[in-house]
């Protein structure tokens, strides 16, 4: 009986001229990965800028960054996704994966800015003193000394952010994005069969997140200059 269900859901071509389920899930997985990777990249870049702004001595640089983080963290990501899709991109024709990437990138930036801020604060202030004592401008010291050390310290937290984001992108079906979750749901509706597609989707997410955690642990050990304390 299970063999027949798997055959129907994953291996045979689906009704309405759709390809077999495994093909659909693979396509969906591709979208999920593209959206997650690009969004986290956008999040790290924007989040770092926000973090540096939030630590500025100038109030007019500090408060917009702070307001942004508060707004994003205080509203559901699904609402933000809808706002980006139906308001920001209302009159612009854009692929759903791009809309989703931007929405999740903007969302992630707020959380990453908190992480980066904590990372910058974790770097010994003596490092900045030494850089400044050599006549290095603050931005140069930040780029060469402070941020590389901050990123090493926050690598686990950033990896965790990626894992969270990977799972959160499962809502892009709401705006018509064809990600892993959405594909599983299409298979479910085509076959009237819930177990195989949904458990397959869950298993794929699980493999991704666990694999990612293992990868990050290896990467962490690779950065040789790290303090041993």
């Amino acid at each position: 009986m299970w063999r027949a269900r798997i055959q129907q859901c994953l291996l045979d071509p689906l009704p309405n001229g759709l390809p077999p389920g495994w093909r659909m899930l693979l396509d969906g997985l591709g979208y999920t990965l593209v959206i997650s990777v690009l969004a986290v990249a956008l999040g790290v870049v924007l989040g770092t800028v926000l973090a540096v702004l939030r630590m500025s001595r100038r109030g007019w640089l500090r408060w917009p960054a702070r307001l942004y983080a508060d707004l994003i963290r205080g509203t559901p990501v699904l609402v933000q996704l809808f706002i980006v899709n139906f308001i920001v991109f209302a009159s612009v024709q854009a692929d759903k994966w791009l809309v989703a990437t931007i929405a999740f990138g903007l969302n992630s930036a707020a959380y990453v800015s908190e992480i980066v801020r904590a990372g910058i604060q974790s770097v010994n202030p003596g490092q900045m003193d030494a850089a400044r004592s050599l006549g290095m401008p603050g931005a140069l010291a930040m780029r060469e000394i402070i941020l590389p050390q901050a990123f090493r310290n926050i690598l686990p937290a950033l990896g965790n952010e990626f894992v969270v984001l990977l799972k959160e992108t499962s809502v892009v079906g709401f705006i018509g994005g064809m990600d892993l979750m959405r594909m599983g749901d299409i298979i479910r509706s085509m076959t009237y069969e819930a177990y195989v597609p949904l458990l397959s989707v869950a298993a794929i997410y699980l493999v991704l997140t666990l694999g990612l955690s293992a990868l990050l642990q290896r990467l962490e050990g690779r950065l040789g200059w790290g303090r041993e304390r």
């Binding site: 003596g126 490092q127 030494a130 850089a131 004592s133 050599l134 006549g135 000394i145 050390q149 200059w225």
Partner: protein
């Protein structure tokens, strides 16, 4: 701005550092209460005093890592507290060695030494590497050029820090308790490096608890107590005939 002015300009050597009525407050607590001090070119000045007396604060004002509340500091004739002064330009000529070394943890020893000269465009990379290796060799660290700071002993770290400061070709060197964080057997290497520097004619301001070093190497000593300089004398006078009762009390405690 003429920070490049050297002590040997025809107008006659002015002081390397001139400090007038320097005040620093931390909140409502006044740490420096009106410091007056001149340091001549090639002079080695030791600054001693009980902890909390403001020694480190004074030193940090000289390269503006600490903001002064009131007063004036001239370095090679330039008023460094004046508005609009290019503080990064000033700092290029004022090297600093810290109590806790503060080596850049994400850079190798050699990269620590050449980073600022290269990134600030003062030397082409190849020239900076050659000079960096030369400095490391002089300080007995030639074998450590490619090592990471966390693999060095404290004494080695501090000598790298000295090399890093010297790579900027400074006119003045500030030492903030350079041996206080070292194991006793490491102290000598660092002090020897500083002696070499002093013999080479470097102008130095040294906050220290090493009375032996102060006596042997410095030309002049000041005793700081509660934010004021209360004794200012050559070492032999300072140790043998201190004038101020607080200096006497301090010396009795530590010698």
């Amino acid at each position: 701005m003429s920070l490049a002015l050297h002590a040997s300009v025809p107008a006659g050597p002015g002081p390397m550092v001139k400090i007038v009525d320097l005040h620093v407050k931390f909140g409502r607590h006044e740490v420096l209460k009106g410091i007056h001090l001149e340091v001549a070119p090639r002079e080695v000045l030791s600054i001693v005093g009980p902890s909390g007396s403001g020694k480190s604060t004074l030193l940090h004002c000289v390269n503006r890592l600490q903001t002064a509340h009131r007063g004036h500091i001239w370095i090679e004739g330039v008023d460094i507290l004046a508005p609009g002064v290019d503080v990064n330009r000033l700092r290029r000529k004022v090297g600093m060695v810290f109590q806790h070394f503060n080596l850049f943890e994400n850079k190798t020893v050699l990269d620590n030494v050449i980073l600022a000269p290269v990134k600030l465009g003062l030397l082409p990379r190849a020239a900076a590497v050659a000079r960096g290796l030369d400095l490391l060799r002089q300080l007995g660290l030639a074998a450590k050029a490619q090592a990471w700071p966390h693999n060095l002993s404290g004494g080695q770290k501090q000598r790298v820090a000295i090399a890093r400061a010297l790579a900027m070709d400074p006119d003045l060197m500030l030492f903030d308790e350079p041996t206080s964080a070292l194991d006793p057997e490491m102290v000598k290497d660092v002090l020897d490096a500083m002696k070499d520097l002093a013999r080479g004619g470097m102008t130095m301001m040294v906050v220290t608890h090493e009375m032996g070093f102060a006596r042997e190497v410095s030309n002049r000593m000041v005793f700081l107590d509660e934010g004021l300089i209360v004794e200012d004398a050559p070492p032999e006078w300072f140790f043998n005939r201190p004038q101020n009762p607080r200096t006497k009390a301090f010396l009795e405690k530590i010698l």
